[in-house]
Assembly symmetry: C2
Homo-oligomer: 275 residues x 2
């Protein structure tokens, strides 16, 4: 059983009920963040917390608890967690509204959740993604807005695609819930604009690639298709190779050496994670 | 006290609680519609219902009740309503999710709400709106996505603006929750693309302007600023003059004669509304 912190109480998630008239539900006025533990310790807490605060500030929402209070609730939920590791979802919304538009108190939820690990076979083979002409609305904010993804999910499933790569007028930005990197002529390149700046992306750039030249810059879809390797990074995917984009096979259609090296380095980093 | 229909039950809205892990809250995967009664009868039911079905289909959500069942619930809620007239909000979401991404059963809520009427003084004076470089994501769907509006609400309030007019690369589309019309050289012109097609917009075009030339076409912001009159239409605003856009005064800064004529015609139509 996993748990939800809401209104200063920790309950089983399945027993957590909230008022129907929340601006998160009525008006999509909400944001979230999502991280996991390694060795029972939140991974990159400072970076996730800073991003959560940044999203809140940009969306005009005040987090109704101090960082220390949130940390305390998370620690308590880790103790209650039925598994060795778990992930956490923070959700912050505009709160309960009486007129469908305004509220005075944001709602804040912390949920512990089961981790779904990517299988080794998938790390070895890489994933297929498909492109869509789209750019996330307010991409630098981790808003709750995933309606585009959820609407195309049946198509992705039908096409055996794991995810979608957003392309706008020839320029790529990100996958629906993760960042993208390409390996090209011994450089590692990743978009800088119109993306949510991922914490795994930051980990890769700042802590795992000191022996590579890393460029943050605009990338065309052609450059991606012609890359030696393409990979994606996220809290749940870590460093995961992309071996197919639409009908185009990247490299030899398997995880490339750079992705595998960075995944190994990532795994070493988290294995010894002490916070 | 107003009410909410959920899980085949009608309760006071303040007593209606829902599971926290709804995709409407977690992933902004939701849509709605909003209409009101005149003479205790839903206004333009067929058109609103058709639009609600269209939004649901486009977002890939199945409405879990037949039209007749929904009509019955609405009739019951009208009987329970403490006031002569009320408005209704239908909300349809992806439903409860266990993995944060998928669900099998959409959630459907019907809420009766208090109507907030526009004061006569405001109809006479018109409203001030301000422009923003923005276009709604999936504008033809009445999704719950109003995060952009809610984020800029404090600015609108500070600037004494009633609403925001979306402009993208010089082309206007709509206000945050209503359509826009301009009166220019005895023609009435309204955008056709990148908008939610309002039911009041449709009422004006199809039932109130047979003696006018009405054009549905692209409009630049310059054309709007230079118009003799500008007005907006919505379920709650009916036909409401826009007398100021940013620092620019439209016409003589009061409600123009065409807006007033169409508001009179609209009021006559709804006064005798029998469904």
């Amino acid at each position: 059983m996993f748990h939800c912190f809401y209104n200063n109480q920790i309950k089983n998630t399945s027993e957590t009920l909230i008022p129907v008239n929340d601006l998160g539900l009525f008006r999509g006025y909400g944001l979230f963040d999502f991280f996991r533990t390694y060795n029972g310790i939140p991974f990159q807490w400072d970076w996730y917390w800073a991003r959560f605060c940044n999203s809140a500030e940009k969306l005009g929402l005040v987090i109704p608890f101090a960082e220390s209070q949130v940390k305390e609730a998370v620690a308590e939920m880790i103790d209650l967690c039925p598994e060795k590791e778990c992930s956490f979802r923070f959700v912050l919304t505009g709160g309960v509204t009486l007129d469908g538009m305004t509220s005075t108190n944001p709602s804040f939820f912390i949920l512990s959740e089961k981790i779904s690990e990517v299988a080794d076979l998938i790390y070895a083979k890489g994933i297929k993604v498909e492109t869509r002409e789209y750019i996330r609305d307010m991409p630098e904010i981790k808003s709750t807005d995933y309606k585009f993804l959820l609407q195309i999910m049946p198509d992705l499933k039908k096409n055996k695609s794991t995810d979608v790569l957003f392309v706008k007028e020839g320029w790529i930005s990100e996958l629906s819930r993760s960042n993208i990197f390409v390996v090209s002529e011994d450089k590692i390149i990743t978009p800088k604009k119109n993306i949510l700046k991922g914490i795994t992306r930051k980990t890769v750039i700042e802590q795992l690639t000191s022996d590579f030249e890393v460029q943050e810059r605009d990338l065309t879809i052609e450059e991606v298709l012609n890359a030696k390797e393409v990979f994606t990074t996220s809290s749940t995917k870590k460093v995961l190779s992309i071996s197919q984009i639409d009908d185009h096979i990247i490299g030899d259609g398997q995880a490339g050496p750079v992705s595998q090296l960075l995944l190994d380095r990532f795994n070493s980093l988290v294995q010894n994670w002490k916070g």
